[in-house]
Symmetry: C2
Subunit: 347 residues, 2 copies
């Protein structure tokens, strides 16, 4: 066995989620961080929602507003023939607005397959630069607390990376913005490298540059620097247009094993890269072909079609891990993988 | 007097610069850091060059190559009818290439007006993510050494911010990449704020977000975080399309006075913002109109037309400063300003 989807997939879908505003619709419950706490498996899931689109002439999109101090949810409306809706995820008006708002919700399970997801947002936007909401949390246990690293989106400020911490999954501490726009896909190595925390990150270039992966280093998890190039997109291959990390890497005798996503511009797939244990900026091997490509309906049809987006990782045995991933920006899915099996595809 | 151009402008132009490769042409000597050292005024100037374009059917562009270890300069060539040259600064082929290479050269003066610029590059690209060269240095004296913060450009990796230090303007120490792509326009406050170094930076959003200004904080100048939004572009105004810092801010009784650039998409102008002394993320005032707009030929016609780009600052008296700026991405220019005069336009 190298990798096998859970037969229970999809594990969570929008039909399982209560909208945060009465009369709204939930369009997806997908990219999630994964962890174990007090005998249960927890997922922190991205949930996207918007007002039901009932008037065929009008498009409406939510936007958190912080101008009065306390956050409140506004709904902007436009005539459909006056804006660009060619990409259904965006409303391109005077500026580009997100068509949805995004919050994070806890889902709990005893077996890692059957989950109950919170009826209300667990974490929402808290700052003026997060008016589109917050998304794509990665959860890790570091130094006696869980770190939640998520992306915040804003039509004017761009896409940031922020850190929230918790010790009990009940109270949460907002720490800081870790990366300026646009950066995404940050996961921290489970051990320090040369005395420093080390993380993946995926900045976006505007004039030049694909969406490539870099390493960053830090002594306190809040201030990052010493950025080091890690991996470029490989034009013509499955990861030719953009790449980004999945969850934290797995330490193996052969090197750090990272399960990452790549897109060729048409679909997002799962692949692996193997990095030198002492100097993870040295890439030892990288999947020539995807480990998993969108084949199932829950990976092919959703808010954004043809996406497998690896996100949350749980160790089951020394060799067996469960990987939770987003399917088609709509579903929370899972798969089981063998580390030795994945390594055999690389070496 | 609020602000007055030097009558000696332009101070340095491409005709004053020897190309680094025989037969090449220098297209600009502009955005510079400014400092005083051993009784002289020094500028560290961005110089752009390329092979002479002698064949009307061919466009050629330089690219540093690090694949063999030691850097060497390559020249890529394309048929002009097979690439997009609509923006003369770029060759848009399979990916976007810079049309020029960029290096930094020291220029020395006894009066701050007449400069002699080095015949060879003082600093060049040193890393694989800087194959387009390095540009836009800002120079400050911090903790017993000069910091040189510059941008590196690369067709695949994007635009980074790196730190080099020197104690003697003869030997230079490369420190680290401080900001991942795309970020530009970093200048450090001359004093710590709340115990931390504080800097301006200007990230670029891809999907969302104008080119806005943020603050960052650090304890060691290498690892930055706690990013805080500072100022948005103001659509419809002179700084409606992009903004970025000039040199380090000036401490005044009224607040931190920052001389910054803004563009409305047609021209780059000089303006000022006044920030709270204790919490510089609080903007007290901002120029409603530019302090200086491109009016002179050396600001209107160059490698990129209609640009005033503030960069290097020298204190002459408590009230009088000299500001060195780039004119039309071609010339090094200077102006004299009165701090009280500029403050009077803001308060």
């Amino acid at each position: 066995m190298i990798i096998e989807r859970f037969p229970e997939n999809p594990l969570i879908g929008p039909e399982d989620v209560v909208p945060s505003v009465e009369g709204w619709e939930v369009l997806g419950a997908y990219n999630c961080g994964a962890f174990e706490y007090e005998g249960r498996i927890g997922l922190l899931v991205r949930v996207i929602e918007r007002p039901r689109q009932t008037d065929p002439k009008i498009v409406s999109a939510p936007l958190m507003d912080f101008s009065a101090g306390e956050p409140r949810m506004l709904v902007n409306k436009w005539r459909r023939d006056e804006v660009d809706l060619s990409d259904p995820r965006f409303v391109k008006a005077d500026i580009i607005y997100d068509a949805i708002t995004s919050n994070l919700r806890l889902a709990w399970s005893h077996d890692g397959k059957a989950f109950e997801i919170s009826d209300t947002p667990t974490l929402e936007a808290t700052h003026q630069y997060e008016r589109n909401g917050i998304h794509d949390p990665r959860v890790q246990f570091i130094d006696g607390r869980w770190t939640i690293i998520y992306s915040g989106g804003d039509p004017e400020w761009g896409v940031t990376i922020s850190l929230v911490t918790t010790k009990d999954w009940n109270t949460f501490q907002y720490e800081a913005v870790l990366y300026t726009p646009d950066n995404k896909d940050v996961a921290i190595f489970p051990e320090k490298i040369g005395g420093s925390y080390c993380c993946f990150n995926r900045p976006s270039g505007v004039y030049f540059g694909y969406k490539n992966m870099w390493l960053g280093f830090s002594s306190d998890l809040v201030h990052w620097g010493e950025f080091t190039p890690l991996a470029l997109c490989r034009p013509g291959m499955w990861d030719g247009e953009r790449i980004g990390c999945g969850p934290e890497p797995i330490k193996t005798d052969e090197g750090w094993l990272e399960l990452y996503h790549g897109s060729d511009g048409h679909k997002y797939c799962l692949g692996a890269m193997l990095l030198d244990l002492k100097d993870p900026s040295k890439v030892i091997a990288r999947s020539e072909e995807p480990l998993l490509a969108p084949e199932m309906d829950y990976e092919k049809y959703g808010y954004y079609n043809n996406v497998i987006f690896p996100h949350g990782l749980l160790k089951r045995t020394d060799d067996i891990y469960w990987l939770y991933y987003g399917g088609a920006d709509r579903y929370t899915c899972g798969c089981e993988l063998s580390v030795s099996g994945v390594l055999s595809t690389l070496l």
